[in-house]
């Protein structure tokens, strides 16, 4: 970021939430970079930015889409970059219909499943054209049978082991990915390290970009109505402010200059969160700002190893390294691999078989053999979503007996705190592992539901174990920070009292479970008994974290190097001769050296600082950095040079580790018989994508559309100004009487909850408070829950500065101190004034913390993004009035009185297709009839 010429911070309050990282924004600004902050609130980030642009929360796609339109309609894109490095010239299936054609839906929408069939979004390829040309989109049923027909496709995996087969002489199975399947399994985030597979055949292109079916022309039409006027109307941003922002970005993009975006959960926690980021990606690709110094899109994440816990996922839908969890649809190992990539495709996902076999070898050692498909059947199968909110629903239905909470406080930090606590009261047992006695461990005696009388301690059957955890200095191990950098922590002291690291606790729990099952002949216990679970331990029996890191890195199992650590994931094989627990981390332990603990001081290195920690993949600090040079391999400019092709050495050289085959010449065009990394042409910088290009249009991978379209939040007083379709038609909802939503779009009842609230964090507190509200220093700095309101709203509702206010949503009512501030600005949207209320979410109701208070997240309902299943946490509807909330059962009466007045039912705001007239249209689309 320090190298950027313009920085757009949108959906993040970086100066307050990532203050130390913000020094690089300050450095960039000191060198003359322009900094713009787009946020509903004026914060300390805004205070030091060149400009603050207030926005109505949840409308970022309108703003970013209008910037795309501005670039396209004024011929401002980076032409050479776009032509060479993106899919702009690709031709899209003639059957594709845009939201412009269907008033807010794309083609392929199924009313039955509330999901898309993505067939019509695909590229035109040579194969399609060789076949019949009248191939309309396949109806669902025949697609399903196609799917099952190739379960036994080709030869079985047994005959496939060893070097992957050359399939060029076979007809590859028809690619078919169904939106509802992807949606159920949060398919979107399995692409964390690359793109979705594209179909067989060579995509057709029109390099003049004039064909109406080119991605470029489709994009142009899609965003044509995203105009400055629309931005003013939808986002509440003036035309002058929009033009200021557009000019700043344009003037600071191109050969000589780069613009960087930074976002945080202000972009992700929406029913179309993944698409917010996609919109910025399209803009950055059009302007040539990807893979270059000072470019890119920075995710500012909130936990020390939230990146690591996605790479090595404690997530339901992933295995390490973004390999998907197997589903019932992938009965055989071959089926499974087919869903990840075609093994004859371009890019490094072609070797998914090597990554998967190495993982299975790491987990099941000698029990994983070619004969049993490397123990593939030891992995449980998914047949639907099992995210944290679906698990909550299962808890409420008494289907979950035991629950582990590992440094997470859902009673305060997750959406709809009341449901979270009620869910836990249905458990048989709960294990809370934390440093402090968090609210998720004490709800049974002092939670809000005990106070309101909904629950009685003496009636709650749940057993609760509180197991004290170790702090970061009481164990060694790696955190992966937000730029994919692994940093090792050395242990300073032993954990006090009974405290244990998770490493120790889970290692010992695993030992005891295995001891108890040791004599079992039940095949269900084989995966546990065959598991490799023997780590070297110290005198206390604690496992050695470095040995675990070495297993993650992987090793050679056979041959002259047997036992030696792998140096790079390219050494992984699918014949069982290598192991490795997370392929993208291979190299962190190359040569038996823990590179995560590399600590050459920054002052002794260049700005890349490649000898401080280790970044995945292969210690590259800027991914896709081939794009930092032009198609001929020369830096786009001296000022922005990073890596380049050295004619004499016939290698890529430069400041960073090249993210490209090191000896692939810029002009090379490998033959069609090549696969994987070998198939990458000299101008294919996006090495994980199946076509080597940056995607302006995603033919696959996102379940809610190949291009982002604006939809209003789950509950919004405003009608969608762009389409008849009000909300994301593929969002995930949980219609229940205890998860009601406000009326939307001015329908009767909308006025009961007329205001928009958004939640956020403070510098001095951390997430749900488990690591901050127990510290006297931090508690003194931010002692009390408050709400930020504008002077206009305070006047309208009679709210007294520093007095109390009660905020009522369709789920709950909470109280907060009133902070009247012109940091909150009323916005004019479609002729109406929209008041927004800011709520920090750190406090919770309990008795153990130094400071307690009502939890903002109790106000939230549960509705999810369909790609990654993140909750809609950044926007909701509410009312506010002066005074404290009622105590005891009266608080429930207040909430129900509002619900009744607004006429809410589980159906409210939960309609998937907004206009019933248009449901017919959608049916027609599904039937394939005109």
């Amino acid at each position: 970021m320090a190298n950027a010429d313009c920085i757009i911070i949108q959906g993040s309050n970086m100066a307050e939430c990532h203050p130390v990282g913000f020094q690089w924004v300050t450095e960039a600004k000191a060198r003359g970079a322009k900094v713009i902050h787009v946020d509903p609130r004026f914060t300390r980030t805004s205070a030091v930015a060149d400009k603050h642009i207030p926005i109505r929360t949840g409308t970022d796609i309108v703003l970013l889409g209008a910037l795309i339109n501005y670039v396209l309609s004024n011929d401002l894109w980076f032409d050479e970059y776009v032509r060479a490095y993106t899919n702009a010239a690709n031709l899209v299936n003639e059957d594709f219909q845009d939201t412009e054609d269907l008033d807010g839906l794309f083609s392929g929408y199924s009313v039955k499943d509330n999901a898309y069939d993505m067939e019509s979004w695909s590229y035109q390829t040579t194969e399609q054209h060789d076949q019949d040309s009248d191939d309309a989109a396949e109806p669902d049923e025949s697609a399903l049978s196609t799917h099952s027909a190739y379960h036994g496709y080709g030869t079985s995996w047994d005959e496939h082991h060893g070097e992957p087969q050359d399939r060029s002489d076979e007809t590859a199975p028809e690619e078919h990915e169904e939106g509802d399947d992807e949606r159920e399994q949060a398919g979107g985030d399995k692409y964390g390290s690359g793109g979705a597979p594209v179909g067989p055949g060579v995509p057709l292109r029109d390099d003049t970009l004039q064909d109406p079916q080119t991605v470029f022309q489709i994009l142009k039409r899609h965003y044509a109505r995203y105009t400055p006027d629309m931005v003013q109307d939808a986002c509440g941003i003036s035309i002058e402010d929009f033009e200021y922002m557009a000019r700043a970005i344009i003037e600071n993009s191109g050969r000589e200059r780069t613009t960087c975006f930074a976002y945080a959960v202000g972009w992700t926690q929406h029913t179309l969160g993944a698409q917010f980021i996609r919109t910025a990606s399209i803009l950055q690709l059009l302007l040539g700002n990807m893979g270059r110094p000072g470019g890119g899109i920075m995710a500012l994440r909130g936990h020390a190893s939230i990146q690591g816990s996605t790479d090595i996922p404690t997530l339901f839908n992933l295995l390490p390294g973004y390999l998907p969890m197997p589903s019932v649809r992938t009965e055989t190992f071959t089926d499974y691999l087919d869903t990840i990539s075609a093994r004859d495709q371009k890019g490094y996902w072609a070797y998914a078989d090597a990554y998967a076999v190495s993982l299975l070898k790491a987990w099941w050692g000698d029990a994983a053999q070619a004969e049993n498909n490397w123990a593939y059947d030891y992995i449980p199968r998914l047949n639907g979503p099992h995210g944290t909110y679906q698990t909550l629903m299962n808890m409420l239905a008494d289907q979950v007996e035991g629950y582990f909470l590992l440094g997470q406080n859902p009673a305060v930090g997750s959406a709809h705190g009341r449901l979270q606590r009620m869910g836990m009261s249905h458990l048989k047992w709960l294990v809370v592992r934390d440093l402090n006695m968090i609210e998720s461990a004490t709800w049974w005696k002092d939670g809000p539901e005990i106070q309101s009388g909904e629950l009685r301690t003496e009636d709650i059957d749940t057993e609760v174990f509180f197991m004290p955890a170790a702090t970061h200095v009481e164990k060694s191990g790696t955190f992966t920070q937000t730029q994919r950098l692994l940093q090792w922590r050395h242990q300073a002291v032993n954990p006090p009292g009974d405290s244990q690291s998770e490493l120790e606790f889970f290692y010992k729990l695993g030992q005891r479970i295995r001891e108890r099952l040791a004599d079992s002949d039940d095949p269900r216990d084989r995966p546990l008994l065959d598991l490799t679970w023997d780590y070297p331990t110290d005198e206390h029996g604690d496992p050695d974290a470095e040995a675990v890191l070495a297993e993650i890195n992987g090793r050679h199992l056979t041959g002259e190097n047997a036992g030696k650590p792998l140096s790079a994931y390219t050494e992984m094989r699918s014949d069982g001769s290598t192991s490795g627990g997370c392929w993208i981390y291979t190299g962190v332990y190359a040569d038996g050296i823990n590179h995560a603990s590399d600590r050459v001081p920054g002052s002794e290195q260049d700005e890349i600082a490649s000898q401080w920690g280790w970044a995945w993949p292969a210690n590259r600090r800027i991914i896709y950095n081939r794009a930092s040079a032009d198609p001929q391999g020369r830096p786009w400019s001296e000022r922005k040079k990073l890596i380049w092709w050295d004619e004499d050495q016939e290698r890529w050289v430069g400041k960073d580790n090249p993210d490209f085959p090191i000896d692939r010449a810029p002009g090379s065009t490998p033959g069609k018989d090549k696969r994987g990394g070998d198939a990458l042409a000299g101008d294919d910088p996006f090495v994980m994508q199946a076509d080597g290009k940056g995607w302006l249009y995603a033919p696959k991978g996102l379940v809610d559309g190949p291009m982002p379209a604006h939809y209003e939040p789950q509950e919004s007083p405003v009608a969608n100004p762009l389409y008849a379709q009000q909300q994301n038609p593929t969002r995930m909802t949980f219609p229940r009487w205890d998860n009601l939503f406000a009326q939307s779009a001015g329908k009767p009842g909308t006025e009961v909850y007329p205001y928009v609230f958004t939640t956020y964090r403070l510098t001095e507190q951390h997430t749900a408070g488990g690591m901050s509200r127990w510290l006297p220093y931090l508690s003194e700095l931010q002692p009390e829950m408050f709400c930020e309101v504008s002077p206009e709203l305070a006047e309208e509702k009679g709210l007294e500065p520093y007095g109390w206010a009660t905020i009522i949503s369709p789920r709950s009512a909470i109280e907060a101190r009133v902070l009247v501030t012109d940091r909150m600005k009323p916005l004019t949207v479609r002729g109406h004034t929209v008041h927004q209320i800011g709520l920090p979410y750190h406090w919770g109701v309990g008795q153990d913390a130094v400071v307690t208070g009502d939890a903002a997240n109790d106000l939230l309902g549960i509705a999810l993004d369909p790609n990654v299943h993140i909750q809609n946490g950044k926007v909701g509807s509410c009312d506010i009035k002066p005074g404290r909330r009622p105590r005891g059962p009266e608080v429930l009466e207040l909430v129900s009185e509002y619900q009744e007045r607004a006429g809410l039912t589980p159906a409210t705001s939960n309609t998937m297709v907004t206009d019933p007239q248009r449901e017919l249209t959608a049916e027609q689309i599904e039937d394939g009839s005109p």
């Binding site: 007996e401 440094g407 004290p468 009481e474 164990k475 955190f479 606790f505 889970f506 002052s603």
Partner: protein
Amino acid sequence: MSRFSPLEWPVFRQFRTADSTGRSSAVVSQRTRDITSRTETADRVVQSICPYCAVGCGQKVYVKDDKVIQIEGDPDSPISRGRLCPKGSASEQLVNSPGRQTRVLYRAPRATDWQELDVDTATDMIADRFIKARRRGWQDTDDQGRPLRRTMGIASLGGATLDNEENYLIKKLFTAAGAVQIENQARI
């Protein structure tokens, strides 16, 4: 040096030393001279990383008599260059806070308060419950007869505050046990 020496009068000190403006060594009292910082008396200094957000600031952990006595920013870090925010600066208190729970506690069904348990007993109890819940929540196949081989009786939440090595063992153990409802803050 006697504290009554006229040479120690501030004005003399000021002229006697090179501190002619009287803003440096001349105005340092004996008491201040006698004080040393905690960081200087530490037995050892350990390099670490801040546990709060994902910027990944470097920390130096000062240890004396096997206790953490101070945590400061690590100037060697190319990411943070020695700086820490209020949370990172307070992280010594995260370790030494008087309110921190360091004992295993157990709440029995319908009980109104906690009781103490030792770690081994608690771990055994959890292992027993884990096996039972796993069996009771087991699903061999779905309604179309397709294999599931999993348990829905156990769920877990959390991981973004933990180490990669810890997440790895958690995912490995739970997956081998057939538990699929494993989640963390990345989806929150």
